[in-house]
Subunit: 225 residues, 2 copies
């Protein structure tokens, strides 16, 4: 089994602030899992009791609302920690995590890492910083949800995916989301998301091939209002 202290992924998250000794101990108790596209990592209400370090792949964090629709709150990617909130409270998960492509994650049990969170102040400060960043992002999303049109939000989502995950060889966005996923990020009906993508296509801002989307005019997308 691979070792945390040699794992390059930890450079991207708070685990980088652990000492070599701490890493070795954690390496001994972690479990590595492979998760297939579409599989559930954990569900709303579940007791996860640990954090996942995402070695590869992408997943969505979402919450089921009363009307039966899933609202995607955040995309979690390679290098991120997943389930950090489970460390600081006894409550169960507020969101569900579902893989958007094949993933590899390491699970670190809560009881193994809690000591470090209490003792290693550099580590806990790092976690605090990450949480503060997440909070800022969530607050910004609230403002967008409340004040921007569906078209603007969808355009911004495309730009977000482009900025964070880039293109593949053929120039298509490297992360493939279904129209339903886009709708669930933007907070609209699937048909509305589809309709707006068609519209963006007609306006020459994007092009598509099946589920793949290519951004043709970034400036144009940015200036939608």
């Amino acid at each position: 089994m691979s070792k945390c202290e040699q794992c390059i992924i930890r450079q991207f998250n708070s685990l980088k602030s652990l000492t070599k000794e701490e890493l070795i101990r954690i390496s001994g108790c972690k479990t590595t899992k492979t998760i297939k596209k579409g599989e559930i990592i954990f569900e709303e209400g579940e007791n996860i009791n640990g954090v996942f370090c995402v070695k590869d792949g992408i997943c969505k964090l979402s919450k089921l609302s009363a009307n039966g629709k899933d609202q995607i709150v955040k995309l979690v990617v390679k290098g991120d920690l997943l389930g950090q909130r489970s460390l600081v409270g006894e409550e169960s998960a507020n969101l569900s995590a579902v893989a958007l492509n094949d993933m590899e994650v390491c699970f670190i049990p809560k009881h193994e890492i809690m000591n470090d969170l209490q003792q290693n102040s550099k580590f806990s400060f790092d976690v605090l910083q990450q949480m503060a960043k997440d909070l800022k992002e969530s607050d910004d999303i609230i403002v967008n949800m409340a004040q921007k049109s569906v078209k603007q939000r969808l355009a911004e989502t495309l730009i977000y995916v482009y900025n964070h995950f880039g293109n593949n060889d053929e120039g298509f966005l490297d992360v493939i989301l279904s129209r339903e996923d886009y709708a669930n990020i933007v907070g609209t009906a699937t048909e509305s998301a589809i309709r707006i993508l068609s519209q963006l296509k007609k306006e020459g801002l994007i092009s598509t091939s099946g589920k793949q989307i290519k951004i043709e005019d970034l400036k144009g997308l940015e200036s939608i209002e």
Copy 2:
């Protein structure tokens, strides 16, 4: 000047985890301010470089969106800390804070409290817990914004205000928000908020007297869909 170590307010926030020595030091460098209703405590983009401990009163945290409307993200009340995020990053404030009634706050400069955040792990863990709670709340608001109707959101806001601030002697909500504030919490046009309040009045779920609102049928409000 009053002393932090004797201040009862700190029991309600993370400052309760500071040692007596830490409190005495902080007491010596804090400044107490009185803020009148409507006054700005800090603005988006400002460098606040410290936290405010709210001794009395209520303020709104909001962000100006591109279309010129203010979106209220959170209400901060007596006992809360304000500006916690300024402690964990160098960036300027993401939100503006404006008093909703007369307030009394104590300002603690960042450089005085940063050491405690790094050294006192109980304190930093407390801050972390609060941040995690805020994050959960923000995520829940995103879901509500995306998936619920304006009427539902407004009803929930009324219930929220009722649960958190209660009634005055005459049975009216003890916090008086303008119709515009309600609109800015819910993320709708002021006229829409007014219209829906009128509707709720006709349905017998609330009654009003000027800006004052009385909840007449809590169950009814809760069951709007």
